[in-house]
Symmetry: none
Subunit: 225 residues, 2 copies
DNA sequence: GCTGTCATTGCGTGA
DNA sequence: TCACGCAATGACAGC
């Protein structure tokens, strides 16, 4: 992965140079003259273009049309240095001074213009560490193709995983079935002895357990079979 | 313009009630039971749906994976209460605690997942004033039609593909066993077909499944028997 | 989401 | 041919 940093980004150059220490993927960082944007991530044949704006620059350029001209070109660009642009990102870097007091209406209006009108993704990095990690993770995710996939499944994680006595563990597993709680799990284990036995029970056998009626018996049986 | 606030958003209800003082446009605020999201802006026949997450909830739902489940439903929705959804927005509300130190890699990775994979616009509102102004400006811009996207912006928003992942209870139950995650749960079910079959398998049979070796076979077997 | 740790796997080596 | 050890891979659990 190649990372190009615009030569005018002197304030963060040394910070970002250390991206070249990355192992996965190996990163080659160099300073270049970018016709557009501030950072450019190139891998294979596609690129990710990033514009960084310090908060003070962001605020002061809100009124001028310079910001919006710049963002318009940013938005419209489809290639850079011969590489098709796969992704674009605007980074707002720093915190907003409290003195003079921030004008949230202005800032929010600008954010919405950027997000909704220009349709450019926006991330605020409040300090150098955040900026560094933002780019590091972006590079990593790009290399793994994680920014292109469709949403995946995430509901398998356990709420808690007690490395507790085995008996509690069994109850816990049974209780992960909806409509089975701690009490029913215990009753089932008392009656059948093992989860395997519960799994093999017929609906009729399940109904003999205290707390299990027609509905629960059906549900339990249908999950196991 | 009607603003519906979900009844569970008690912490910001009083703050946002004062939106009803707006003149342009006149705003009617009410608390409602929203099946999805936290705030809903309705004007004419279209709506803007907003999900608010406090930073602490953001972090904890990130750790439990609740976040992705919620965002998937958020992303999938195309109408709410009969109104087609024109726009969606995720607001992260608050600042990240320095104690314990924030993990920027985690947060940046989550931001990128939200922006690039779930394709949901994101705004961070660091305090109540920012949140209030964010909504006020959003309402104002909506009423003026200022949030319409410019022609020539990049590509279309990823939307509700019919085949985004659905919950599979059997995998969920298997994955509640420690040392079994979503991958192994799927492999086991592919191989055995049902949980009952997994429960009855011998250690030797279990080891024939990809990803199951000596240790996991022992563990699985001992839980079921 | 990310990171560190550890289990599994497949391969290369020698008996 | 088989048993074993090793390194690379990949999954899980914890944060
Ligand atoms: Mg810049
Ligand atoms: Mg919420």
């Amino acid at each position: 992965m190649h990372v190009l940093i615009d030569y005018r980004e002197i304030t963060v150059q040394s910070l970002l140079m250390s991206l070249s220490g990355m192992k996965t993927p190996p990163v080659h960082v160099e300073v270049a003259h970018l016709p557009l944007g501030d950072f450019f991530l190139v891998s294979k044949d596609t690129g990710v273009l990033i514009e960084r704006k310090s908060t003070s620059d962001f605020i002061s350029s809100l009124r001028s049309s310079r910001l919006w001209d710049q963002l318009l070109r940013f938005m419209k660009a489809s290639t850079l240095l011969g590489h098709p642009l796969k992704q674009k990102l605007l980074i707002v870097h720093g915190t907003f001074d409290r003195e003079p007091p921030v004008s949230w209406p202005q800032i929010m209006g600008a954010y919405m213009e950027i997000l909704f009108v220009y349709d450019i993704p926006l991330i605020v990095c409040e300090d150098d560490e955040a900026l560094y990690q933002c780019l590091r993770i972006l590079i990593k995710r790009e290399a793994q193709g994680k920014n292109e996939v469709l949403p995946g499944s995430h509901w398998f994680r356990k709420h808690c995983s007690p490395s507790l006595p085995e008996m509690d563990l069994r109850r816990y597993v049974l209780a992960s079935i909806p409509s089975i709680g701690d009490v029913l799990a215990e009753n089932l284990l008392d009656h059948f002895g093992t989860i395997a036995a519960v799994a093999h029970a017929t609906e009729k056998q399940l109904r003999r357990v205290e707390g299990v009626g027609k509905k629960k018996a059906e549900k339990i049986h249908s999950i196991f079979h």
